[in-house]
C-alpha cells in the first residue's frame, strides 16, 4: 500500500504540490490525469524519491520515505518506474539493460539475471531483440524493454509517467496492451496518462490533478461521464 499524506513539494519558491492525500491499495490501478504543469510527474517522482519531498509523508508498505533512516535504494527496488522517454541505456544491449540492476543491486549471477530477463522479454514480445541495442528499436519496442527492465527487479508497484506520450500513434496500442496484461496479473500501478480509453478500461480509479492538488477522484465512469468539479469538466471537454 502507498499512503500519501499531506505531501507538499516546492522548487525554490514555487509550490508545485500543495497537500496531496491519497492511498493506493494493493492491486489497484490508479490513473492520474490533469493539464500540463499540474504536478502529475512531480507527484509520481516523489513516490520513489526522485524528487525530494518538501513536507508531508509518503509511506510505502508502512516505510516512511522521508525518514532519513530508510534505505532508499532498497525501497526503490520495490517501486519500478517507466518514463515518457524510455531512458534505456544506449551503451547496453536490450538484455544488458534488463540484467544490469538485478546483477548490481540484487547481486544475481549473470546466469540468474538472464533467467529472469528472458521470460520478461517473452512477456513483452521481444525475445528476438535480446542482443539488439536500443537505437535499433522502435519507440514502442523501447518502451516495452523499459517495462521489462523495471519488472526485472520484481517490484510490488509500478509507476508510469506518460508511457505512450512520446510514441507514434500506431505504436501506442502495443505498450498499452503490455500494461493491461500487467494490471490483469494484479500489479499495483500508478499511471500518469492522457489515454482516456486506457484509464476507463483498466483503471480502478482516476485522480484529476490541477494546480498541485487533487481536484477530483473516483471510479473512471463517474469521473469521465459525470465530473463534479468545474476544472475537471473544463479539462475533459478539451481532451475528449
Amino acid at each position: 500500500m502507498i499512503e500519501i499524506k499531506n505531501l507538499h513539494k516546492s522548487f525554490g519558491d514555487v509550490e508545485v504540490l500543495s497537500g496531496i492525500n491519497a492511498t493506493i491499495k494493493q492491486k489497484e490501478v490508479v490513473c492520474v490525469i490533469g493539464p500540463s504543469g499540474s504536478g502529475k510527474s512531480t507527484l509520481l517522482r516523489c513516490l520513489n524519491l526522485l524528487e525530494e519531498i518538501t513536507s508531508g509523508q509518503v509511506l510505502i508498505d508502512g516505510t516512511d520515505l522521508t525518514d532519513p533512516a530508510t534505505d532508499i535504494n532498497k525501497l526503490r527496488t520495490d517501486v519500478g518506474m517507466v518514463f515518457q522517454h524510455f531512458n534505456l541505456f544506449p551503451h547496453k544491449t536490450v538484455l544488458e539493460n534488463i540484467t544490469l540492476a538485478p546483477i548490481k543491486v540484487k547481486r544475481m549471477s549473470d546466469r540468474e539475471a538472464k533467467d529472469v530477463a528472458i521470460p520478461l522479454l517473452e512477456k513483452v514480445g521481444l525475445s528476438d531483440k535480446a542482443d539488439a541495442y536500443p537505437d535499433s528499436l522502435s519507440g514502442g519496442q523501447k518502451q516495452r524493454v523499459a517495462i521489462a527492465r523495471a519488472l526485472a527487479m520484481n517490484p510490488k508497484y509500478m509507476l508510469f509517467d506518460e508511457p505512450t506520450s512520446a510514441l507514434d500513434p500506431e505504436l501506442v496500442g502495443e505498450v498499452l496492451q503490455v500494461m493491461k496484461d500487467l494490471a490483469d496479473e494484479g500489479m499495483t500501478m500508478v499511471v500518469v496518462t492522457h489515454e482516456m480509453g486506457f484509464a476507463r478500461e483498466v483503471g480502478d480509479r482516476v485522480i484529476f490533478m490541477d494546480e498541485g492538488i487533487i481536484q477530483e477522484e473516483g471510479n473512471p465512469e463517474q469521473v469521465f461521464v459525470d465530473p463534479q468539479n468545474e476544472r475537471t469538466q473544463g479539462f475533459l471537454s478539451k481532451i475528449l
Binding site: 526503490r76 519500478g80 518506474m81 534505456l88 541505456f89 551503451h91 540492476a101 543491486v105 523499459a146 523495471a150
Partner: protein
Amino acid sequence: MIEAILESPYINSLPTLFEGLKMTLLITIAGLFLGFILGGLVGLGKLSKNKLIQGICTVYVEVVRGTPILAQVLFIYYGLTEDLIGLSINALTAAIIAITINAAAYIAEIVRGAVYSIEKGQREAGRSLGLTEKQTMRYIIWPQAFKRMIPPLGNQFVISLKDTSLFSVIAVHEVLYMGKQYYNVTYEIFETLVMVCILYLIITIPTSIILRRLERKLDV
C-alpha cells in the same frame, strides 16, 4: 639525383630533428597521461556537491586557463627555486609539469562537460532501479561520458603537442629547440624550419583525420 636529395639540407637535418621529436612526444604523452589523471580528479571535483572542493577545482581551472603556458613554465622552472621548495626541477620535469597542469585544466572541463551532457533521464533510470549514485556513475554515466570525451581529448593531444614547442625557452631538447640548434650551425634556417613543421604535421594531420572518423563513428 637521388644523391642530391639525400644530401639536401632538408634531409640532413632529420637525424637531429628526430632526437627532438622523441623528446616532444615524451613530454606530450607523459604530460597528457598525468594530465588525464589530474584533470579527471579536478573534473570530478567540479561536479562534487562539496562546495569547498568545487571551489578549489574551479579556481585551479580558471587560474591555469587564464594564464599563458609560457609564463607557467618559466614560473615552474625559474620561479620555483631550490631555496623556495627544497628541490631543484630540471627543464624536462618542468616541461612535463607544465603540460600536465595545463592539460588537466582543459581535461577537467572536458570531463565535466561530457558527464553533464548525458541526459538526466539516464541517471534517473539508474536510481529508480535501485542502483546507488556510485553504481549509476560507474555503469551508466561514465561509459557514455567517456565516449564523448574521446574527440576533445584527441584535440587536447594536438594542442599539448604544439605547446611543447614553447619549452625551447628553457632549453628542453624538443623538436623546435633542436631545429634552432641545428640552423645556428648550418644557417639553413628555412629548410630546417620547413622540416620541423612537417614533423609536427605528420603527427597532427593523421590525428585530426582519425578523430573526425571516430567522431562520426561514435556519433557524438
